[in-house]
């Protein structure tokens, strides 16, 4: 026997200086994939994990059985939410560059994921987002100033200065807390859904994880518990191709789609064009109905592209071609929905420009307000005493003592 095994190293299609190459992405034509009944058994619909559900074609026409037939106002609202997300991201990125906030993470190029999915769910459904799902806050009507105050760790920060920027949460909006530890929210969402089922409530849970983070043990825990208890949950893998510098092949995407993990556990798995607002909406609606009617959990892989840097601490020029997003075969989610609306005669370049301007102003006005509540190193500040609260429900004696000590230290410095 001459052939010997050699350690296989996943292939990255192109590195800086090379031409972007997306031939590895398996595409299906818009409208081509069948839409099974929501009660179909997971094992009978495994084709969904291989194909790519798409509704919008290259001309902006909506095709096929997954066409959700949303009314125009919904579409316009979706466009607005996505654009607001992008405008917000851009502005916050700039404030970070100006040193106003310590850190930021944009969702450029993947706005359809959070926006279409949150729109397809009900307000009572509980969301367990990752750090790149700011769009869900926007859909649920979170005042931007609240998000900004978190970014600023200022006196109105809902986290009371305890979390890194972007680690929002919102009790009233049913949006769970984002953790700095990857993937941990995924099985928690399943537990939340199990509780809903135990209590006989019809709220469902949804969670998001990056394709890179799907390598963590908690991804497995989530799928397993969802399968065993048939929990009413939607588990979303946002496959934006990159995890910081690491290509999706290193998370197992080279051998098989991430959606395919679902059928492996007896869970419906479905691969969708993540930059196609209509397809994402339709697939999420289908999965939600499955969950809500007791037909079980769904794993959705949203195929998209992380168009920006990983975070403000990252420089993607070190590890991938500069013009990659321009060549990304699934395009830009905002441009595609805009094209569709224009094609329907329900949108125009002028309206788009006007909306952009309006949203820029909205963001600016919110920022103006937010900074009045303080910035990390300027203006009003949270009381450092707060550091000792909420470690436990009641402040225990040893933390009382440490708080005293801290006060003395601060008094000495002043």
């Amino acid at each position: 026997m001459n052939r010997r095994s050699r350690l296989h190293v996943p292939r990255v299609p192109a590195r800086p200086g090379e031409a972007p190459d997306f031939s590895y992405v398996d595409l299906s034509p818009a409208g081509a994939v069948a839409r099974p009944d929501v009660n179909a058994r997971a094992r009978d619909i495994s084709f969904l994990a291989v194909e790519l559900v798409r509704v919008l074609d290259d001309n902006g026409e909506a095709l096929g059985p997954w066409h959700p037939h949303l009314d125009v106002h919904e579409l316009q609202l979706g466009l607005r939410h996505m654009l607001l997300t992008r405008v917000f991201d851009d502005r916050m990125q700039r404030t970070q560059r100006q040193g106003r906030i310590s850190f930021y993470m944009r969702s450029l190029g993947e706005e359809a994921v959070s926006v279409a999915q949150a729109m397809a769910l009900r307000p009572g459904d509980m969301l367990f987002p990752s750090y790149r799902n700011q769009g869900v806050n926007i859909v649920r009507g979170r005042p931007l100033v609240d998000l900004m105050c978190q970014l600023l760790s200022n006196t109105r920060d809902m986290c009371k200065g305890r979390q890194l920027p972007v680690m929002y949460h919102w009790v009233a909006g049913n949006i769970f807390s984002i953790s700095g530890n990857l993937a941990t929210q995924f099985p928690q969402a399943v537990g939340w859904a199990m509780a809903a089922a135990i209590k006989g409530e019809d709220h469902i849970a949804a969670s998001w994880i990056g394709e890179g983070s799907s390598a963590e043990a908690d991804f497995h825990h989530a799928l397993l518990f969802a399968s065993v208890y048939q929990a009413p949950v939607i588990l979303n893998v946002v496959n934006n191709q990159w995890a910081i510098s690491t290509f999706q092949g290193f998370a197992g995407g080279e051998q098989r789609s991430f959606a395919a993990r679902g059928p492996g556990y007896g869970i419906a798995g479905i691969r969708v064009d993540g930059n196609d607002f209509l397809a994402v909406y339709a697939v999420t609606q289908w999965a939600a109905e499955r969950a809500r009617t007791g037909a079980g959990p769904t794993l959705i892989e949203l195929v998209t592209y992380r168009a920006s840097a990983h975070s403000t601490s990252d420089d993607p020029a070190r590890y991938r071609p500069k013009d990659d997003f321009d060549r990304w075969p699934l395009g830009d989610p905002i441009a595609r929905l805009k094209q569709h609306l224009i094609r329907l005669g329900e949108w125009s370049e002028q309206r788009h420009l006007a909306l952009s301007a309006e949203l820029e102003e909205l963001v600016a006005a919110n920022w103006k307000e937010a900074v009045t509540y303080g910035m990390l190193n300027e203006g009003p500040r949270l009381n450092p005493d707060l550091m000792f609260d909420d470690v436990f429900k009641e402040l225990p004696p040893h933390l009382q003592r440490q708080r005293e000590q801290m006060r003395a230290e601060i008094a000495k410095k002043d």
């Binding site: 509980m126 367990f128 809902m158 986290c159 009371k160 305890r162 979390q163 680690m167 949460h169 009790v171 769970f176 807390s177 953790s179 530890n181 941990t184 995924f186 099985p187 928690q188 969402a189 399943v190 537990g191 939340w192 859904a193 199990m194 509780a195 809903a196 135990i198 209590k199 849970a205 043990a217 908690d218 497995h220 825990h221 989530a222 397993l224 518990f225 065993v228 707060l386 609260d389 909420d390 470690v391 436990f392 429900k393 225990p396 004696p397 040893h398």
Partner: protein
């Protein structure tokens, strides 16, 4: 008053809480139909149903994670880890999530999860069924850590833990499940029915976390301990004829510093004892704290009694276990010193 062993007392605590509070659910490996490998949850699934007492996959990380999600959704999960030695696959969810959720959300979200797990040696369990990892968790801010030493406390503390809105790691010294144990494996086993703390009310009551128990008042020296070592240390002191004050901490976080320091200030001498390995064990925190608070009262260096800094070996269980001989050496050192 009814007699219960520690298993029955824990079972009673869970039965009462399942009955009183519809949000309480139990979950864990083999705990449902079977009633648990130590039979602690026996009969509870039959009585309260499959949706209140859940058999789970063998995935400690998944169990804790699911419990957190359930806690966030208004339930009050009591998760069993079959042996404390198997808690580590759930470590990240405990440390990074359960312990941190209230803090990072400024109190907006929290998960009132109780994690029960049998710990300690003395049942020929070898290195993977004998560990006492409680010390590790005392270094993790945001979780409470408790260990009862008898049926009465076990029931009252477990009820208090389940009712607590903070997460609690509840360690059960399995060598004490069926009776107190003075460290000598060759003596006939003593059942809880012979011990006053084996008298356990049938109904609801709590023993608060954070309050130590002076199980024996005394003047010669203070022994600070918890779990199995409560009995071993007391027996060793008695055998030496020492008038020792024996403090059973019951909970390590929160810690009853007042009771400890009042005692040490009175006696001037102190031995700290636990079954866990010595180096960086919880005993170190106790010694550090006592010398900080009671330095001027100390007439001798505080001595530690602990498991050796090795895994718990199957063949040398009793050479490993901190039995009366080890306690005696420490007691002598602390009494003879100065």
């Amino acid at each position: 008053m009814p007699q219960m062993n520690m298993i029955q007392a824990l079972n009673s605590a869970m039965d009462i809480m399942l009955t009183r509070d519809p949000s309480v659910v139990l979950m864990g490996e083999d705990i449902g139909y079977f009633g648990g490998v130590f039979r602690t949850t026996e009969g509870l699934q039959r009585k309260h149903g499959e949706h209140r007492v859940l058999d789970t996959p063998i995935a400690e990380g998944g169990i804790i994670a699911a419990a957190i999600g359930m806690g966030v959704n208004g339930l009050r999960p009591v998760a069993e880890i079959q042996f404390a030695d198997y808690i580590y696959p759930g470590f990240d969810q405990i440390v990074s999530e359960l312990a941190r959720l209230r803090f990072r959300t400024a109190g907006d979200f929290f998960a009132p999860v109780t994690i029960r797990t049998p710990c300690g040696g003395g049942i020929r369990g070898g290195q993977t069924h004998s560990q006492s990892p409680e010390g590790i968790f005392t270094h993790v801010c945001g979780v409470k850590v408790a260990m009862p030493s008898n049926p009465y406390d076990a029931k009252g503390m477990l009820i208090a833990s389940i009712e607590d809105d903070d997460p609690v790691l509840f360690f059960e010294p399995k060598r004490l499940y069926n009776g107190p144990f003075d460290g000598d494996p060759n003596k006939p086993a003593v059942p809880w029915s012979t011990h006053p703390k084996g008298e356990v009310p049938d109904g609801y009551y709590t023993v608060p976390l954070g309050k130590a128990d002076i199980v024996r008042p005394g003047n010669d020296l203070t022994i600070v301990t918890y779990g199995t070592m409560t009995f071993v240390a007391a027996a060793a002191a008695a055998a030496m004829g020492l008038d020792a004050e024996v403090i059973d901490l019951r909970s390590m976080v929160p810690l009853d510093v007042d009771t400890i320091c009042t005692s040490v200030k009175k006696t001037g001498r102190c031995v700290v004892a636990h079954e866990a390995t010595r180096f960086s064990g919880f005993g170190a925190e106790l010694v550090a704290l006592i010398q900080e608070e009671c330095f001027w009262n100390l007439e001798a260096p505080i001595q530690r009694v602990a498991g050796w800094d090795t895994p718990y070996p199957h063949a040398f269980e009793w050479e490993y276990f901190p039995g009366q001989a080890r306690v005696t050496t420490a007691l002598k050192a602390v009494m003879e010193s100065a």
